[in-house]
Each structure stands twice: as structure tokens, then as C-alpha cells.
Amino acid sequence: MAGRAAHGAVGLARFMLVTILTFLGLLAITFFIGRVVPIDPVLSVVGDRATQEVYDAARERMGLDRPLVVQFFSYVGNVLSGDLGQSISTGRAVTSDLARVFPATLEMATIGILIGVLLGVPMGVIAATRQGSWADQLIRVLGLLGYSVPAFWLGLVGLAVFYAGLGWVAGPGRVDFFYEGMVDTITGLYLIDSLIAGEMDIFRNALSHLVLPASILGFFSLAYIARMTRSFMLDQLAQEYVTTARVKGVPERRVVWRHAFFPIRIQLITVIGLSYASLLEGSVMIEVVFSWPGIGNYLTTALLNADMNAVLGATLVIGSVFILINKISDVLYRILDPRARQ
């Protein structure tokens, strides 16, 4: 038992080390990108008419004359203390900008993953149990479309059909203009904030703005989750213990859900984690199309204004959340799967 515990401790230490190194790698990449920018940060402060002395003084003040390694660690120190610099386009600290826009992205991606899981998992199971049926074919086609349709194009078509054409949903933005700022920000998630405030009109309005972009994100996650569920289920259904259960006369429904589906839920956690992380990334394009005031919109606006602090800050936050979700699903997998624990 002691040997096993020690083994677990070594595994945990190793995992922590890899996680820390991954985050340092992300920081190294954003630091490197910040360094290769063709814009000279000193020139942008002193202007191009400054004398050499003024230029050198500014360079020293900004710490750019120090060795790269020293600069890197002071950058890491700044990031860890929550300082991502000032945004030149909003004039505020990047950290507070990001804290303001992040809930919008979180709200959309979370509804998206809920749609993906609630529809994708049952679809995958049905496709696996009725191989070759029309349901199976449909899921195959959806899966392929999920890999080949540009998200921003689907967003535009969705707006043209469901907003302009049929009028089923509200247009771009999170709420209608006259509802803007009417609910106090508590969580930053409009659906929850409006419920807390008891403003059902705003809740309905926010939902009607959210449903289209979230469904489009959900479609991409559904395509992936259904496909993976199908493939996991096919592996399980081919196992001998499933045949045994059938021969023993266990009802088919119970064979599918209790015997075959139960073991794959652990693999599914990893898939759902991956999918959730990639939704955060995929929301960038959707946010641009739907003028959704989230982190993706913030990032692309900053990109077009060459606002490097904001670009790198947003990259860092999206990258960190992406890594974090992947690591969490990794940990969950190790905890839940007895085979991976050793």
C-alpha cells in the first residue's frame, strides 16, 4: 500500500510539473510574440523625433535593455500578479477588460456544450445500436459537416434565415438596445442576473439573443461528441461481456445503457472536456458574426487596432482556460478510471 501511495505521489508531482511547464510554455509563446512585433514599443512611447538620449532613457525605464531571460521572468511575475498592461484602445487595464467580457463568452459556450452533450450523446448511442440505419447516416453526415462548414458562414446564414427571414430569434448582441445596462451585474451571465433581478422580460430577450449563436456552437460540439460516442459504443457492444448479458436474457435497453454505456462515460468526460475547450476557441468567430461582446470580439477588435497588450492578454486567458479544462478532464479521467490510476 505504501509503495502504491508513493507511486501516486510521484505521478502527482509529475503531473503538476507538466502542467506548470505547459503554462510556462504558453507564457513563453506570448512573450515571444510580444517581442517579434515589428512595432518598436519604445518608439511608440517617445515618438520617432526623440533624440538618442531620450530613446535610450525610455528603453531603460521600460526594462528593454535587460537580458531577455530577465525580461521574461519579470513578464511572468507581472502576469502572475494579474498585470497584463494597459489596452491602448479602451484605455483600461487589460485584466479588468477581460474580466468584464469573459462572462459573455462563458455563457454562450456553456449553453453550447449543454446542447452538444444533451443531443450528441444520445445520438451517438442510437447510431451505434442501429448501425447503417438512417439515424446512423444522419450522424455521419452531421459529423462530416462539423469538420467542413466554416462557423462564421453558418452564423451568417443562421442570421439571414432565423432572424431576418423567419423572425424566430433576436439579432446580434446580448440583449435589445433598450434593455442594455438595466440589470445589475452580479455574475455577468445575463440569464442568471435577470432571473435574480426577477426581470422576466429581460430573461426572455437575452435567451432569444443567445439561442442562435449557442445552437451553432452546440452543433459543432454535437457533431464531435456524437461521433466519438458512436465509436466508443461500437467498441463496447462488440465485447464478449455484452454478448454474455444478451445471452442471459438481459433486456436490450438495459444492455445498451447499463452494460455498454456505463463504462464509456469516463472516456466521454475527456471528449466533453476537449469539446468545451474548443468551443471557447470556436466562439471567437461566432462572437464576431453576432457582435457578441465576449472575449473573442475583444481579441479581434484588439487585433485590428494593433493593441498588442490586449491581444496577448486575451490569448493568454483563452489559452490558460483551454489548458486548464484539458488538465481537469485529464485528472477526472485518472480519478474515475481504475485502470488509469496505477
Partner: protein, 301 residues
């Protein structure tokens, strides 16, 4: 004909050329039996032909403006309608195939060899070389690709060359992982030991003996990744960070059409169909190639 057929399918080929031609024949005939792969191959061939003969296929110029014919709906003359400057959208989509082909080809040519080399060196050398190279690869693998490409384009500046570089930077780690895994399976094989005993250097072993054996799984993966590369490139174009106007890049065309989506839907939607068709083509072909070249992995996607 049947003599040629038998010669191609000879169990013990007498020359290297015969073995290679025989393998090519087997792959081609297996692909032809797989309907989806055949459709995929046809789409890709159509893309290449369109790109090569764009001036012959396109009825109008890709950049010539005709302001009296602005925003015309699809008609017999303008199959996909015209855009806000009166340019024929079909002609622009045809010329746009050149840009798409250029991007996917360049990304493949840059990222696949880098990935292969890193993976093969890592797998063959082992030890600390392996740990450091794979550590770097894993860090890149755990980053969100699109965001990373966006950040690199932000640093390098918008444009088609920089978009290609940015996408290539995010694409290579997968190939490194694949090449390493393949290399590990035959690193200790007897034929490698035999070559080493003959005095071959590590460079020669990796370049002449290890890399060629990693090729087929890398080709499958590159083909499957093409759809993602096309989508990323179109996304960069859509955000105004890829190919710059007046280049008829499909993503940039969709972005221009955004302003007219509610009334003149064809401006934004038509280029999207081209993107979907080509991406689907690569998906189909990639799936088919995997079934033919790598039967072990069948039905994992």
C-alpha cells in the same frame, strides 16, 4: 492489358519500379472501390483543374468592377450574382481556388517536414533529446490552434504569407507525435540494426530509412487536417487578417458580403459553398486513404 495487370500485382516484384507501381495501383484501385474517397478525389482534382485553368473557366475578371451591375442576384449571366462592386462572384470563386490551393499546399510543405523531422529525431534518439523535443511538441499541442494563429498573425502583420506561416506553426506538432510513435515501433527492428552495423550515420538512417516509413501515416493525417487548415485560413481572411482585398479569397469574400446578408444573401453565401465542398473533399479523401493505407485504424473516427 491483363499482362500489365498481372505484372503490377506480382507477389514478388523483380525491380523497385515494379514494386512501387504495383503499390500505387493497389492503392488507386482500392480508392476507386470506396465511393466517398472517389468523390473526395474528384473534388480535389476539380479544385486543382480550376486553379490551373482559372482564366479559361471564369467568364469574367476577378477584379474588374462594373458599378452599373452592382449586387445583381444569381442569373444565367452571373451564376452566383455580383458583389457590391459589380464583380462576378462565380469568377471570383474560381480565381479564389488558386489562393486556397496555395495556402493548403504551402502549409503542408512547411509543417509536415518539420513535424516529421522532429518526431523521427525524437523517436530515434530517445533520452533527453526525446524528452525536450516532445515537451515542446506537447506544449504546442495543448494550445488552442486558432487563437495561436491569430496571435502570430497579429505579431507578423496581416497578409497571405503571414497567415500561411501562422497556420504552419500551429500544424506541425501533430505530425511530430505521429512520426515519433511510428519511429518507436521500428527503432529496434533488425533492418535498422543491420544498416547501423554497416556504418550508416544517424542522419542517414533517419533520412533514408526512418522518414520514408513514417510517410503514409503522415500523408493520411495531412489530408484529414486539410479541412481544418482551409477553415482556419478562411477564418483569418474573414477577420481581415489573411489575404487582403482585392484578392478573391473565399473567407474575405464572405466578410464583404456580411453587410448585405439580409437583402443580398448570395454575396456571403456563395463562397461558403466553395469552402464546404473543398473541405468535404479533403475529409472524404482522408477517410478513404486511411482505410486503404492504414487498415489498423479503421473506424476510429
Amino acid at each position: 492489358m491483363s499482362a500489365l495487370h498481372e505484372w503490377l500485382l506480382e507477389e514478388s516484384p523483380s525491380s523497385r519500379t515494379q514494386a512501387r507501381l504495383g503499390r500505387a495501383w493497389r492503392i488507386l484501385s482500392a480508392l476507386a472501390r470506396n465511393p466517398l474517397a472517389a468523390i473526395g478525389a474528384l473534388i480535389i482534382i476539380a479544385l486543382v483543374v480550376t486553379a490551373l485553368f482559372a482564366p479559361l473557366i471564369a467568364p469574367f475578371s476577378a477584379v474588374g468592377q462594373d458599378l452599373s451591375n452592382r449586387l445583381m442576384p444569381p442569373s444565367a449571366e452571373h451564376w452566383m450574382g455580383t458583389d457590391e462592386l459589380g464583380r462576378d462572384i462565380f469568377s471570383r470563386v474560381v480565381y479564389g481556388s488558386r489562393i486556397t490551393l496555395l495556402i493548403v499546399a504551402m502549409v503542408a510543405v512547411i509543417s509536415a517536414p518539420i513535424g516529421l523531422l522532429v518526431g523521427a529525431i525524437s523517436g530515434y534518439a530517445g533520452g533527453w533529446t526525446d524528452r525536450i523535443l516532445m515537451g515542446i511538441t506537447d506544449i504546442f499541442l495543448s494550445m488552442p490552434k486558432l487563437i495561436l494563429a491569430l496571435a502570430f498573425v497579429a505579431a507578423l502583420g496581416p497578409g497571405i504569407e503571414n497567415a500561411i506561416i501562422a497556420i504552419a506553426i500551429t500544424a506541425w506538432p501533430v505530425y511530430a507525435r505521429i512520426a515519433r510513435a511510428e519511429t518507436l515501433t521500428f527503432r529496434d527492428a533488425e533492418f535498422i540494426a543491420a544498416i547501423r552495423l554497416q556504418g550508416a550515420s544517424a542522419t542517414r538512417i533517419i533520412l533514408r530509412h526512418v522518414l520514408p516509413l513514417c510517410a503514409s501515416s503522415t500523408i493520411i493525417r495531412v489530408t484529414l487536417d486539410m479541412a481544418g487548415i482551409i477553415l482556419t485560413a478562411a477564418g483569418l481572411g474573414f477577420l481581415g487578417l489573411g489575404a487582403q482585398p482585392p484578392l478573391p479569397e473565399w473567407g474575405a469574400m464572405i466578410s464583404r458580403g456580411r453587410n448585405f446578408i439580409l437583402d443580398q444573401w448570395w454575396v456571403a453565401t456563395m463562397p461558403g459553398f466553395a469552402i464546404i465542398a473543398v473541405s468535404l473533399g479533403f475529409c472524404f479523401l482522408g477517410d478513404g486513404l486511411r482505410d486503404v493505407l492504414d487498415p489498423k485504424q479503421r473506424e476510429s473516427r
